[in-house]
Amino acid sequence: MNPYQSYDAKIIEIRELTSREKLFTLRFTDREVEESFTFKPGQFVVVDLRGYGEFPISLCSPPTRKPIQLCIRRTGRLTRFIHKFSEGESIGIRGPYGNGFPLEKMEGANLILVAGGLGMAPLRSVLWYAIDTGKFEKIYLFYGTKSYEDILFRDEIIYLLKHGEKLNCHVKLAYEVETPSCIYLEKGFSEKVCKGVVTDLFRGEEFDVNNSYALICGPPVMYKFVIRELLDRGLSPGRIYMTLERRMKCGIGKCGHCVVGTSVSMKYICKDGPVFTYWDALSTRGLI
């Protein structure tokens, strides 16, 4: 089997999440592929728009639920094109690629999910996996977003703000731009929603650093601040996991676009990552 060959997948639902992001629900045309397709939260697939090109995108649905979902932001030529697709049309999917989060290792511990903007997409996969399996102590979700209009999966977030504690899930939200909707949200959940950046959400939170793992995804600028916050609280670098982005073209460590590091340690983000611990970041230059 040619590893560059994609499988045919049908778009069964398109949901508009914000003015820029759409959620695509996909089902593989081949029943055998549909049934055998498994993945780990944090892994990604390559979307094949036949005749126009390919792009990598992280899976945003949990492996516990089918069919698979992709949250795609309209930002470049190909994503602009896929936003014009309608339900019932077909695209190609190959993957899953990458290492994903080692969640088996984290069972029984607290999960601290720290998401910034579109970083919510891969972490949503972890979030619902953790809620569905119930194998984790407590799930924290700290989500930083630009404005109320930019909150991804707004209905799910508001649901969890309301009922999260019942699911062992503690959700907090920070927004940067104040709009009337934000103020309304802040009034409703005064303890959980505030104006500010994602690190502001750590204030007043206590967690057992010896039994917690942090999982981070967001824009490049966010990592430094979040990691500092976690290290200050005493979380070990080995318990800090982050998922990174690069211009991955092949997904299998051949094309060379996602290579980082120096002469002593070079890593392919697509194959050795995209999930790394802070130890990796300390030993590989240019990782974050």
């Binding site: 090109g53 092949c250 299998i252």
Partner: protein
Amino acid sequence: MRYVKLPAENFSTFFETLKQLGKIYGPVKHNSTYTFIQVDNVKELSLDYTRTILPPKKFFVKPRDELFKLKREKWEEVKDGESFVLFGVHSCDIHGLKILDKVYLRDPPDPYYKSRRENAFIVGISCMPDEYCFCKSLGTDFAMDGFDLFLHKLPDGWLVRVGSVKGHEVVWENQELFEEVTEEDLRHFKEFEEKRAKAFKRSLNKEGLADILDLAFNSQVWKKYAEKCLGCGNCTLVCPTCRCYEVCDNWIRAYEVVRERRYDSCFMPTHGLVAGGHNFRPTRLDRFRHRYYCKSYFDPSAGFNCVGCGRCDEFCPAKIEHVRVLEEVREELL
């Protein structure tokens, strides 16, 4: 390893018999440079060539490489299963292919590269270094494997090392062309190798190089040379171990698309650009340094990602010398 002798008078017959294995590509002089092209007659070959502009990687990772054709909304794999002979490959280029193997054959293997590797019959040839070669310091001046036959020049013919089963088969089926190796031939072989070892003008000190470079991340030398560098990407195109590629879909007629990959270079500003406009290597300094780090990556099982062929130096329009840059970085740090 098996050693046989190919007398000079049998050379052209030997060349003709190789045609049974497929098209023969060999080094041919082209103005002042050399290039690997298809050769029909032994007279066209320039066996004393220094280096070709593009290394033999062009036969395995092609400058433009068709992967799929879209027909009736279905991808069809493009296959080129033709056997071919690469005649007259230098030891450094054989090592270059071995480095590519590490990337392209590891799981999951690249099917296009794999089939071309299986279809290739490689005939190596001994060479004399020129002012750009520094393969000796990297241990790539002699190939122990990675070829089917390797020819070493003798005063009256060639000493042939047989490196694979396919190589054995060719020698076996054409026994009348070969002779046993004599003591005298071995003496000539040894003399040639000694003369060759002394002919190197350039050398790279690889002692602790990987660590030294890692420590010298903020060295001023990178900055100095990045300002001199034109960012043209020539060095990456001619490098036998550079392998970055870009994939694009091209419409060739109204209902037919070809998905092809083509050489990309880490010197191009778009190399580290992601959707949304963020660039992970925005400056020429970042990109310049990255190439040196990639070439000097040290794999404990296989060595460096550089084979010392000297192409990047010879074809650099800014006359930047690979060894010199690395030596200056070392000097500044120590």
